[in-house]
Amino acid sequence: MDLSLVPLLAVLVSLIAVVPILLSSDKPNLRETWTILAAFIKFGLVLLLVPGAIEGKSVELHLVDLAPGMPLALNADPLGVFFAVIASGLWIFTSFYSIGYVRGAGEHKQTRYFASFAVCLSATIGIAFSANLLTFVLFYEILTVATYPLVIHNEGKEAINAGRKYLAFTLTAGLLLVAGSAMVYIYTGSIDFTPGGLFSGIELPHTAMLVLFIIFLGAVGVKAGIMPIHSWLPAAMAAPTPVSALLHAVAVVKSGVFAVIRVAGYVFGTETMGNYGLDDILIVIAGATIILASLIAFAQDNLKQRLAYSTVGHLSYIVLGVALLTPFGMQGGIMHIAAHATLKITLFFCAGAIYVNLKRKNISQLNGIAKSMPWTMAAFTIGSMGLAGIPPINGFFSKWTLALGSLDGDMVIPVIVLVVSGLLNVGYFFPIIYRAYFKPPEGLEGYGEASPLMVVPIMVTAILSVLFGFFPNLFFGLYDLAVNISLSLF
């Protein structure tokens, strides 16, 4: 079977869906049908690419030239497919959940909401399949622009300020990415992502390489939420919860860490990273981010804010895995993309269900809610345990691999960071669970679970997290993919 057009279709399907979504803005049920349809088709198309990717094959497609010698090109390589499976798979759950959420919360401008969401997913898959830096820039910027209407969705003062902050950070990052890509082109004569990097055989002065690396770090670090350029992420929690769930736990921030892997593994190359000492910078930044973000999470009473800082911390697990420059580290980082995605989306879904159902945003208001919302809180518990790294839920496995990776590289401090961070995770998640289960409820008479459109996706993602912990290879060979990718980079 000829798969050469599949990556393109996978990118386009949700973009095309925008047209019927806009046209059926008066008929909500029809409009949401298009979203669901696009989500399933997209996921199906991505799955077609999985068998090839497990064998290490790529599907390449050159479209028009974006600039002389720099084509708009897609390349569904194993890393891209890995990311695409996660993003498109979780979009299905988010679609159902979104319908429940926006209707339950009586949100305005729902058409704009669903249309922007569809564009975001196109851009995310485009990021996953970009074959070169210029194509990557294209989708990266589209993602920025398409996320903006979702961040400012509530249109209150807080949302507008969050939107401004979001644009200020991401547009700056985009410009750095443009500058960095142009520099790579002038220095190496190529912008194609290549396993092992573009700099083999090219000698650059140490400072030049360092500057280039810092430019790229700024470019991809904003979306990857590394400190100190993470602060748009907690602010963007002003967006509706499904947006936080998919975009700020899966699509946008994972595009950031995905970009870290692309840049480290496919632009600089692991060897160059090591030769110029770039990995040390990354380890320090990632380690500091993990610890600091976990500490700040303690201080947040707003549930979504706490989850946001938790996200910042966990993204840096992935960055840390890349920075270790060992196959196990890379593999653990890649695995944590999947683990954190399923776990954090579950937690955000729970926060949204609580908000829609009880109109409560703060942790201090959650006393005894497990009695009213038993399923939601069960899922929340699973998600928290996973992120804290408690076996057998899937967060444990990636963390274990990360620890192996750092020992493999004869580094002990990263292991200590991981352990301390695990304890901190326990510290900021378990008080929530304690409140929900063991404190007496206040004013919850007559409240039950949220709508099934929300609760079912919550349960499914929670169950996925558990299954994924027991059988990492059960779903689409994600474990094999991660192993193959990390081996191909060394």
């Binding site: 974006l66 589209i142 209407p149 443009v178």
Partner: protein
């Protein structure tokens, strides 16, 4: 054999219609605008065909009356002049279609002189672009300028004052240019650009040549609104009528930039230009200051036309900065930006004219989210153009910045690279500010008004030109590799 006469046809079309419009206009005033549309349409057609035949057959040198230089004057239709003629005539065609209703509203009864002058001004611009003779260029410069002063003076109450100021500064600029030409003539004994460029290397380092270069750069710098000679521009663009601004803003400064390209890259060549003093670098630094200054001033404006005027100061800086890099990437970026910026600025000024037409003002502070309901397509066109101005892919504006960035890195010119990046952010500030107002309800005002607003879209004569220009930015974005491939071949070194 139409190809060999094309350079003359383009200029003569405008000359013919600048006479036809008053002739018919005395009889029927309302014929002026349709005639102007036909005239500019013909010229645009000739330019498109001309550029196509340039790609097939190469440059054309057209000798008027068969008199070869140095006795006669010639028009040179090469890649650079062909490209500029193509850009300015096509954009002017759309602007003139668009001006129909606005001209009737903003200066009723003055359509006939307005369109006659517009044709005369276009004659001047095309003459400047096409001529192969430095003195002839000055003559066309004065034709364009005099017509331009009059066109700017048609407008608000302050417009004549702004036009007068422009007249004084512009004439000084023209005179400086003429002085420079005089110096060169005394040294070389010719006015023909091709002849002179062959002779100039003998006089490298001569004081007269250096003085001539300074005089010409400063003189044309005034016309191009190169910082710090931009003072005339904001007032002129703000107070002139919406149609006048939409016509002059995308075209006028571009033609001046064309002259700088011709002088620095063709007539002198980079080596000779920089023989005594590194002029290209100085010009580049001035352009950078202009880019930042224009963007910052644009942020400070609340009147949309004034904001766009300052934005023009900034954008012309990109073009001149690309020129100053004097490498293929910078050159391609600059010329691509000539095309992009002409389209974007025309579309933006046309939209500001439309808003004035319906709302009676174009003050950004008074924009609200009813516009989204009332003018959905116009606002969509505005959004596309604004995002292109900010420079986000896949729109055209991104790619000029991409090539300029490549050019700066190729020269290891980090200062210029930083300026490009910072300016993009500043652009984002003043365009997203408007988008916020148009697409979001004002938290202090409540949402009632927007929900009640009825759809009240502009008529086709305004909507179509605006939309075509705006959405062509997407096409240019995806097709830019083809355009840039052609532009890289034009690069003279």
């Amino acid at each position: 054999m139409i190809e060999s006469h094309l350079p003359a046809y383009i200029a003569l079309t405008f000359l013919l219609f600048s006479v036809l419009i008053p002739a018919f206009g005395i009889w029927r005033d309302e014929l002026s605008q349709p005639l102007a549309v036909i005239g500019s349409g013909l010229a645009a057609g000739f330019s498109i065909y001309g550029f196509y035949s340039y790609l097939q057959l190469g440059s054309i040198r057209y000798f008027f009356g068969g008199w070869e230089p140095p006795i006669g004057i010639e028009f040179v239709y090469d890649g650079l002049s062909g490209f500029f003629a193509l850009v300015i005539n096509t954009v002017a065609f759309f602007v003139i279609i668009h001006s129909n209703k606005i001209s009737k509203r903003e200066f009723p009864g003055k359509e006939m002189p307005y369109y006659a002058l517009a044709m005369l001004m276009m004659l001047g611009f095309n003459g400047m672009v096409l001529t192969g003779d430095l003195f002839n260029l000055y003559v066309f410069l004065e034709i364009a300028s005099l017509a331009g002063y009059a066109i700017i003076a048609i407008g608000d109450r302050q417009a004549p004052y702004a036009a007068f100021r422009y007249l004084i500064i512009g004439t000084a600029g023209g005179t400086l240019y003429l002085l420079g030409v005089g110096f060169l003539y005394t040294v070389t004994g010719t006015l023909n650009i091709i002849d002179m460029s062959a002779m100039l290397p003998q006089f490298a380092g001569s004081t007269a040549v250096v003085a001539a270069l300074i005089l010409m750069i400063v003189g044309i710098g005034v016309k191009a609104a190169l910082f710090p000679m931009h003072g005339w521009l904001p007032d002129s663009y703000t107070y002139a009528s919406s149609s006048s601004t939409a016509l002059i803003a995308p075209i006028g400064t571009k033609v001046a930039a064309y002259i700088l390209f011709r002088i620095i890259l063709w007539l002198f060549g980079v080596e000779l230009t920089d023989a005594v003093v590194p002029f290209t670098y100085i010009v580049g630094v001035l352009a950078c200051i202009g880019i930042l200054y224009g963007s910052i001033m644009a942020i400070a404006q609340s009147e949309m036309k004034r904001m766009l005027a300052y934005s023009s100061v900034s954008q012309i800086g990109y073009i001149i900065m690309g020129l100053s890099l004097a490498n293929p990437w910078g050159f391609a970026g600059a010329l691509l930006h000539v095309l992009n910026h002409a389209i974007m600025k025309a579309a933006l000024f046309m939209i500001s004219g439309q808003i004035r037409f319906k709302e009676g003002h174009s003050s950004v502070n008074m924009f609200d989210d009813t516009y989204r309901k009332k003018y959905p397509w116009t606002m969509a066109a505005f959004t596309v153009t604004a995002i292109s101005m900010v420079g986000l892919p896949p729109l055209a504006g991104f790619f000029s910045k991409w090539y300029l960035a490549l050019g700066t890195i190729d020269n290891s010119n980090w200062l210029f690279l930083a300026v490009i990046l910072i300016s993009s952010l500043l652009n984002a500030v003043y365009f997203f500010r408007i988008l916020e107002k148009v697409y979001m309800m004002n938290p202090d005002k409540g949402q009632k008004e927007a929900a009640d607003a009825e759809r009240d879209e502009f008529s086709g004569s305004m909507l179509w030109p605006t939309s075509i220009l705006a959405f062509s930015l997407i096409v240019i974005g995806f097709a830019n590799a083809i355009i840039v491939g052609v532009l890289l071949n034009i690069f003279p070194m």
